[in-house]
């Protein structure tokens, strides 16, 4: 079990099994961050929504703001994996990208050919 003690503004971590555990414990106490994942509506796609993620963890307290910003968005199909959906969320400078492709309804075969061509 990971334990963190705080005394006089300093952190003492014990019980970590590796160095990652140490940095995780420090960050979890001082500046907890999470990778944000949600979905964004797609217009003209084979699917109504596309899953998205923040490319890096964002501060935990920014999550509600980021979610409400993403709720205003929609994207037009086709959507490619790792296509940028928002350049920055909640003023963090961290981008949000798609994590799964969504083909367009009409141009479906064309996109398929494009994908095969690389």
């Amino acid at each position: 079990m990971l334990k963190v003690r705080t005394a006089a503004g300093r952190l003492a971590v014990e019980g970590n099994a590796c160095r990652r555990g140490l940095s995780y414990a420090q960050e979890e106490v001082l500046n907890p961050r999470r990778v944000l994942t949600t979905t964004v509506p797609v217009v003209g796609g084979k699917r109504p929504v596309v899953p998205v993620r923040s490319v890096a963890p964002i501060p935990k307290e920014s999550i509600p703001q980021a979610l409400s910003e993403l709720r205003q968005l929609f994207v037009r199909a086709p959507v490619k994996v790792h296509q940028v959906i928002a350049q920055s969320v909640a003023g963090t400078g961290i981008a949000v990208v798609a994590t799964w492709p969504v083909l367009a309804i009409e141009a479906e075969e064309e996109v398929q050919r494009e994908k095969e061509a690389g």
Binding site: R34, V35, T39, V49, L67, T99, W100
Partner: protein, 417 residues
């Protein structure tokens, strides 16, 4: 060779087998590959294999992108397997397919337990569904299953959906778990329930669902040490939606049909350290064998199955030499593989995955015991034993030498000294 199922186990098996020189056909009944991964939009995948935090779709995408020269049939359902290994499948596009193969990998995964398997009293209103169904509705179809949600069971998908629905504006009233401990991963408790302020009620269960057309409330009761609900202390919780996250069951209809031996503890086929079932040439990997905690471990098992299946398909036969059976004993619920192929293990070591049958927050030791002589042949110290967290035990070749003495092994967890 043929791989049945295009989730993490099947993708890894197909990829590994192709790399090993086999010609592979991959069959999946869904329109797209990836199994459950495309709907698991949360992060936490790939930490083990890729040393980075990927979402489920990204993790699936990597495997699909590197698949290579695999013949893929999607929307194709396998309905029978004949001895001598002819696989029968059907699809709208191809009609009925009969594929003869030299080796087969079963990678059908698992399915969720449903309300009918729990026997909860009450009406039959809309709004009761498995956590995975809700996950599909929200993440694939963009639909919200309800406004005021209760969750029965502290499995991982339930906790992940608690956060997902809270983020989408639903009120998540609580997670009710019949056991006195958490059934999913610690990190999901912290990042899904604590982060969103969703209460977890241990030793509580749902004893009744109420409502005519739509669920209106659930009746919750605490349980005693023997998990019996205390109806006198029951209370009502208003909810229009009840998600069930109460366990997964390996999907083994095809496995049974070809006559492979099943392990009652895992509800999956008995496999050797080569992931071969009791039917020669038929291999299995992933959640069809036993339910894993992490997709990474499923992929690793798929690779093992794929490599050995390819070796079999390219002219091999089942290995000779001694096979050592491992049976779960005190405080161990299940062990995979159930059979060690001894010549392999002496050369390459053995990788065991075990499920604890007890919950103990403190040091304990995991032991492999000679079943006849009651002699400890290998052991490993554990910081704790939690049924929710799979135990990984790597036994290096040098330590595996001692196992040769036994004719059967028992796996035990000894608590306290």
């Amino acid at each position: 060779m043929v791989v049945i199922g295009g989730g993490p186990a099947g993708l890894a098996a197909a990829h590994a087998a192709t790399e090993a020189g086999a010609r592979v056909t991959l069959l999946d009944r869904h329109p797209e590959l990836g199994g459950v991964l495309p709907q698991c939009i949360h992060p936490g995948f790939g930490l083990k294999l890729y040393k980075e935090e990927l979402t489920g779709p990204e993790y699936a995408w990597r495997w699909i992108a590197q698949l290579g020269e695999v013949q893929v049939f999607v929307e194709t359902m396998v309905f029978a397997i004949e001895p001598g290994l002819r696989v029968w499948a059907s699809s709208a596009e191809q009609g009925v397919l009969a594929i003869d193969c030299r080796a087969l990998v079963l990678a059908m995964g698992c399915r969720e337990r449903t309300r009918g398997m729990l026997g909860i009293a009450g009406t039959r209103p809309a709004g009761i569904m498995t956590a995975g169904t809700a996950q599909r509705l929200v993440n694939i179809y963009g639909l919200m299953p309800g406004k005021r949600v209760a969750i029965l069971g502290s499995g991982d998908i339930g906790m992940i959906m608690a956060r997902r629905l809270a983020w989408e504006g639903a009120q998540v009233v609580g997670v009710f778990e019949i056991m006195p401990y958490l059934c999913g991963l610690r990190r999901n408790y912290v990042q899904c329930l604590l982060d969103c302020g969703i209460p977890l009620h241990l030793s509580h269960t749902v004893i009744r669902v109420n409502g005519a057309k739509r669920l209106s409330s659930i009746t919750v009761a605490p349980v005693d040490e023997r998990l019996r609900p205390q109806a006198a202390r029951a209370f009502e919780v208003e909810a229009d939606t009840l998600l069930l996250s109460v366990g997964l069951i390996p999907e083994n209809e095809l496995t049974l049909a070809i006559g492979a031996e099943l392990d009652p503890a895992t509800r999956g086929p008995v496999v050797t350290s080569r992931m071969e079932t009791s039917v020669p040439g038929v291999f299995a990997a992933g959640n069809v064998v036993h339910v894993h905690d992490l997709a990474d471990d499923v992929s690793i098992a798929g690779q093992t199955a794929g490599q050995w299946a390819a070796a079999y398909a390219c002219g091999g036969s089942s290995p000779g030499g001694k096979r050592l059976r491992i049976r779960p004993d005190a405080n161990v619920r299940a062990v995979v593989p159930q059979l060690l192929v001894l010549p392999d293990v002496l050369e390459q070591g053995a990788s065991l995955l075990l499920r604890a049958g007890c919950h103990h927050e403190g040091p304990c030791s995991l032991e492999l015991v000679d079943a006849e002589k009651e002699q400890v042949l290998a052991s490993k110290e554990l910081p704790y034993a939690r049924p929710a967290e799979m135990i990984h035990w790597w036994i290096p070749p040098r330590a595996a030498r001692h196992l040769d003495r036994a004719s059967q092994l028992l796996a035990r967890i000894r608590v306290g000294r």
